[in-house]
């Protein structure tokens, strides 16, 4: 059993990576340092590809290593690195444990579907829409499921435990808060989870070979792999054990052939073959050139070339989603927001919506819960891309977590100093809504929360103070809007900038240090 240990190597590797990725989507206490997260997520194909395009930095090019790996040994990304792939393996493992069977059979490739999804995703991306990447990227879908569906459960369990321990007067575990988004936002992750359950239980890894564009793309490349899984026709007795263990359904015992483009490199066949007839073989160039290429495949390879060329077009981003108005109208009574606020480091609406795959990692990691998946704030193409929801909470002035963990480069990493001078939007005041103006009672909640005093309280009648704004020094953190007590419309709010700006520095008076020598009473 020469190569049979490959399976166990795959299982261990995939579980380590899977559990880590799952944990970072569940964690609310910032246990994992961002650099470790970034290091692991470097090998998520689409995030890494986007990050490379955004930053044009070779240190973000984990996808190149994935391409090289695939060209060497096939789709190990799908078996060991992709969390959605491993999730399916776990579902299949549970299924086998529960119903004590779970044999597979050969399936014909669904070429129109798989190449169709890939083509659509690439075309949409070139035309500037992230919608299909966001809906189809397996890492981002896994993120949507774990952040949207599993994290609330995790927080609930934590709070249950915290509550029990409080009863015993142990205050080591702290309760955490889950900030729910619009309920409709959770429809898509639920839908994907159902699809995954249905397809994996009924057809093994069919999802990865029909719907997933990354699987299809790597499948194209794995046709050229240097090492591939082959059946040694001299040893094979056509017992069919390999077919029964192949969750991709890509082994035909009749032809004694492995369709390596659909093989997810799980190595079960290698382990299960009683004759040791299945295993990796290094391809000889003679056999390679002898293999016929279909015209269809060739067209797709050309297409990929065209995509890579398209990516280098610098104005791709500029063409993306130009539909949002930039001018703001001063209004009375009802807040008028012309542009949603995008997270600090996202540069603005354009860059953000054209680079984010809505994987929800920042939503999971945001310590205040201000980052929420959008419904239609960015329009339908931007569904689930996170926005700054100032009715849920506000952006913590000292925090740079979202930029530090974003795997696609949609939110770039900012130093704390740079973050504090980035203006995401500007403050607007509707004095007619303000409780000081309407009720003649004190408040100051907005100014109290403001980190720069872009809203400050100035003298008003009867020893009262009333807000006054200085938008030029506002950073757009939304603390004022969050804190403003008026309903339903706030008296103070932040309207997002289409492109982020630099906030002016708040002036600092030098303090006069006078020596205290007496009591003033």
């Amino acid at each position: 059993m020469r190569q049979s240990s490959l399976k166990w190597f795959r299982v261990v590797t995939s579980l380590v990576i899977f559990l880590f990725i799952l944990f970072i989507f569940l964690d609310f206490s910032e246990l994992v340092p961002p650099w470790i997260t970034r290091g692991i997520l470097l090998f998520q194909f689409i995030p890494s590809l986007l990050s490379f395009i955004t930053l044009v930095n070779i240190t973000t090019a984990g996808f190149i290593i994935l391409l090289v790996l695939t060209a060497l040994v096939g789709r190990v990304y799908c078996s060991a690195i992709c969390p959605l792939g491993v999730l399916q393996d776990i579902i299949l493992w549970i299924k086998r444990k529960v119903i004590k069977k779970g044999k597979y059979r050969y399936m014909k490739p669904l070429d129109y579907l798989r190449y169709g999804f890939l083509t659509l995703a690439i075309l949409a991306f070139i035309s500037g829409s992230m919608l299909l990447f966001s809906l189809l990227d397996p890492f981002s879908n896994f993120g949507k499921i774990s952040s949207g569906l599993l994290r609330p459960v995790y927080i609930g369990l934590n709070n249950l435990l915290a509550g029990l321990m409080e009863k015993m007067d142990v205050w080591f575990i702290h309760p955490a808060t889950w900030y729910p988004a619009h309920w409709q936002v959770y429809l898509y992750p639920s839908f994907v989870m159902l699809i995954i359950l249905w397809l994996s239980i009924s057809y093994g890894r069919l999802y990865c070979n029909t719907i997933c564009p990354v699987g299809t793309l790597l499948g194209l490349l794995s046709r050229l792999s240097l090492f591939r899984i082959r059946i040694d026709k001299n040893l094979c007795t056509r017992c069919g054990d390999c077919v029964l263990s192949c969750k991709a359904g890509c082994i035909s015992v009749k032809k004694q052939h492995v369709d390596f483009s659909r093989c997810v490199a799980c190595f079960n066949c290698i382990r299960d073959c009683p004759e040791d007839a299945v295993g990796y073989v290094r391809l000889q160039f003679a056999t390679r050139s002898g293999q016929p290429y279909s015209e269809q495949r060739r067209q797709f390879l050309w297409l990929i070339g065209a995509v890579l060329a398209g990516m280098s077009v610098p104005d791709r981003l500029a063409r993306a989603q130009d539909a949002v108005a930039t001018d703001k109208q001063p209004t009375r009574i009802k807040e008028r927001k012309t542009c949603p606020v995008t997270p600090p480091g996202s540069l603005g609406y354009q860059h953000f919506t054209a680079t984010c795959t809505a994987c929800q990692l920042c939503v999971s990691a945001c310590p205040t819960g201000v980052l929420q998946p959008s419904l239609f704030e960015f329009g339908l193409p931007g569904i689930m891309q996170p926005y700054m929801d100032y009715h849920t909470n506000y952006c913590h002035n000292e925090c740079t977590v979202c930029g530090n963990i974003c795997p696609t480069g949609a939110i770039l990493s900012l130093s704390p100093e740079k973050k504090k001078s980035t203006q995401l939007g500007q403050v607007h005041l509707i004095l007619e809504n303000c409780v000081v103006y309407t009720d003649h009672t004190a408040c100051g909640s907005c100014s109290e929360h403001c980190p720069t005093q872009a809203v400050r309280m100035v003298p008003y009648i009867n020893d009262l103070t009333i807000p006054e704004i200085r938008p030029e020094i506002c950073v757009g953190c939304g603390a004022c809007e969050y804190a403003c007590p008026t309903e339903p419309y706030r008296a103070i709010y932040v309207d997002g900038h289409y492109e982020h700006r630099i906030a002016a520095k708040p002036e600092t008076e030098k303090r006069e240090e006078k020596k205290m020598e007496e009591f003033p009473f």
Partner: protein
């Protein structure tokens, strides 16, 4: 029922302790005589926050007058902001630690420290230095971020605030020591002892919407700290209560200690040149009988600590 018993016991013990040392407002036959241990208020100037408190509590007869053996104490500092001690948005950590030590010296069974922080709580607790100082002094540091820990309380004498959700630790403890930091405040003019009680409630939005000054005064009619210690060592003198930079902070080295929450704040206001009579919640607190804002009617021990 356990909680209610605690309240009853707590209030009972508080009243006993209070009357024992004749510090309850209005009962002070000897309160104005100025003999040691009978001061209405102690004000300290100079030194460092820890030794200032040592001197202040000594002149009030020691912590044993406030904390009896085996009692459960809550020390409530201001941990509202993610800010370092130099920025003075939160209570001085050294002072918090020293108060806890005094509580244990007096025989406290347990000391809890918490605040319903305004910024993300774990950052506030950590960067203010209070979590570490409190732990080192032996206290249990508790997060105030979960609504499930807050219980509804009727404010019987409340004019605007009739009902409020208060943290169960406050309701279940015997002694409450209120340790605010003095700062200016955009809406409330100053924030000190009375306003610090906003940190033990869940829904603060209501207060801002329904006459902030009145709500602050209402709260003080129901929840009465056994001791108030106003930290005015470093004071945010403008752009409060958060401050934009350390330039907003003045090192004044004052501390005010009293059982009278209104008197504390009246004195604190004067430290930063504000007229207590023009600060709504102090005026209302006096008017509603919570405490006395006329400092001339109080016996005040003024202690100066000269630099060593």
């Amino acid at each position: 029922m356990r909680r209610r018993e605690f309240i009853r016991k707590g209030l009972g013990a508080g009243i006993m302790a209070g009357s024992a040392i004749k510090l309850l407002p209005g009962t002070g036959l000897s309160a104005r005589t100025g003999t040691p241990e009978n001061y209405d208020m102690v004000a300290v100037l100079g030194g460092n926050p820890g030794e200032m408190f040592d001197r202040a509590i000594l002149s009030l007869g020691g912590m044993k007058n406030f904390v009896r053996p085996n009692q459960v104490v809550v020390v409530k500092p201001n941990i509202g902001w993610d800010s370092t001690p130099e920025r003075a948005a939160c209570t001085n950590p050294e002072l918090v630690g020293r108060i806890i030590e005094h509580c244990f010296d007096a025989g406290a069974r347990e000391v809890y420290v918490f605040d319903n922080s305004i910024n993300e709580w774990s950052r506030c607790y950590q960067n203010s230095g209070i979590e570490k100082a409190a732990r080192n002094a032996g206290a249990k540091v508790v997060a105030g971020n979960s609504e499930s820990n807050y219980q509804a309380v009727e404010i019987k004498s409340g004019r605007q605030l009739k009902r409020v959700k208060v943290h169960e630790l406050i309701l279940g403890s015997d002694v409450l020591i209120n340790v605010p930091v003095l700062k200016t405040h955009g809406g409330a003019i100053i924030t000190a002892s009375m306003k610090n009680l906003m940190g033990i409630v869940w829904d603060r939005r209501y207060w801002h919407e329904n006459d902030l000054h009145q709500c602050i005064a209402d709260m003080c009619t129901e929840i009465k700290p056994d001791l108030n210690v106003v930290d005015a060592y470093r004071v945010i003198v403008r752009n409060g209560p958060r401050g934009v930079s350390v330039e907003d902070v003045s090192t004044m080295k004052y501390q005010i200690v009293s059982k009278d929450i209104v008197a504390c704040d009246a004195a604190a206001a004067k430290l930063i040149n504000k007229d207590p009579e023009r600060i709504g919640h102090i005026r209302l607190g006096n008017e509603m009988g919570v405490g006395r804002s006329d400092l001339n009617s109080l016996s005040i021990n003024r202690i100066k600590i000269s630099p060593a």
